[in-house]
Symmetry: C2
Subunit: 227 residues, 2 copies
């Protein structure tokens, strides 16, 4: 489903260079549940942005379902970003001037759904993450963990087949975090692919496979035996 | 050192009201190390903003070293915020148009230090959090955990006597997170007061006392026996 070959992402900053990805090759199949772990600054978010077609590499190839992404037309890329991938960003990326409900409806607008249908699905998604009653508030009226849950609801509302979750429980207490992980496990069981960046070893154990990144390189790629 | 009496923070939002703090009384002495835990949305950040004089309650009194905060002059409040308190915000609050170094220098400008001295102390603080070499970059060129570390360096550079840390290791891998906790333990051993909000039970164990918040009320206040 996803194949990355020899990918580099190098930032040139005056007289020093930052090698965010330094020769990464990776294959993720359909219906996998993969966690990506590694130290702060090691390249996890950069890798995820590449997988989600939000960034382009300095070098290397990226194939989705056999088609090379750099050869895709803009409308094909937009289709992938808006319909096939659900992205939970490390810093949420909510739109401050929209209400919580409008933020969650955004992917459904891209999907071309009618207003009533969008409103209904978005409300259901917010209920699922425990934010019923906060629909008409703005993001800056919510706590950190509540904002994270809006970002989660938005990523899942379109039922995408690939979920990219960058530290999805970072701002949540363990009970709420476990509810979110339960949602991701269900999405995986429904046949979808989940790629999860996390620092939390407990959270990482939800995945069947753990990829460890260090200084922009893949350090290890392990099958998780214990459950 | 810090005394809160019967504090309420109530947001009126049309026909529903949010009781962020719902009758909180609390006493924190000098040289304490306190952790504040509780579910997402329970009032932790709101309480910390009150302690740091960044917000005012709907009702209730707040005394710092015996003086009631609502009776203080603006310059006294500014003195507390800029010189006595170091604040690590849950969403970092870095200034996007300043470089990493300039962000860390900000508290030292308030302290009236000369340029060379500021530059030197800020560089030392960045080195301590492992960000040497990134001084002239902007926050959006850094990873999530690197941004958090800039926020930490900024909070500590002025050697304040009260550290308010809202999820200071949320975006950090366990090794980097432990380095930050070691810094906070040292600051506590030097005679300062540390108040730490965290969802991570392991991180909470660094404190001598754990206050548990639920729906804007203090649920329990425990002395931590194990180390
Ligand atoms: N400006 C505001 N207007 C309305 N409600 C607010 C506002 N700021 C905070 N709240 C609400 O007050 C409650 C407490 O918020 P607070 O940020 O203190 O929670 P928290 O315990 O820090 O949560 P988290 O662990 O998710 O960071 C939440 O329900 C939040 O939505
Ligand atoms: N626009 C940019 N310009 C320069 N360097 C960048 C830029 N974006 C990212 N980097 C650098 O690339 C490296 C990898 O960043 P990335 O965000 O992928 O790390 P990460 O593993 O997600 O870290 P964290 O766990 O802290 O979120 C870091 O050193 C970061 O500073
Ligand atoms: Mg990251
Ligand atoms: Mg908070």
């Amino acid at each position: 489903m996803i194949r990355i070959e020899n990918m580099y992402k190098i930032y040139n900053m005056g007289d020093n260079e930052v090698r965010a990805l330094d020769g990464v090759s990776l294959h993720i199949g359909a219906n996998e549940f993969v966690s990506i772990v590694g130290p702060s600054g090691s390249g996890k978010s950069t890798l995820m942005n590449m997988i989600g077609c939000l960034d382009t590499p300095t070098e290397g190839k990226y194939y989705i379902d056999g088609t090379e992404v750099s050869q895709m037309r803009d409308d094909q890329l937009a289709e992938i970003r808006n319909r096939k991938v659900g992205f939970i960003f490390q810093s949420y990326n909510l739109l401050g001037r929209l209400t919580v409900l409008e933020n969650v409806e955004l992917p459904l607008i891209y999907a071309g759904l009618a207003k009533n249908e969008r409103r209904h699905l978005a409300k259901e998604a917010l209920k699922k993450v425990g934010l019923e009653g906060r629909e008409h508030h703005r993001p800056n009226q919510l706590s950190g963990g509540q904002q994270q849950r809006v970002a989660i609801a938005r990523a899942l509302v379109n039922k995408p087949s690939l979920i990219l979750a960058d530290e999805p429980t970072g701002a949540l207490d363990s009970k709420t975090g476990e509810e979110i992980m339960q949602m991701l496990r269900e999405i995986h069981q429904e046949g979808n692919t989940v790629v999860l960046i996390t620092h939390d070893k407990e959270i990482a154990k939800n995945a069947k496979r753990m990829i460890s990144i260090h200084d922009g390189k893949i350090f290890s790629d392990c099958e998780v035996k214990y459950a």
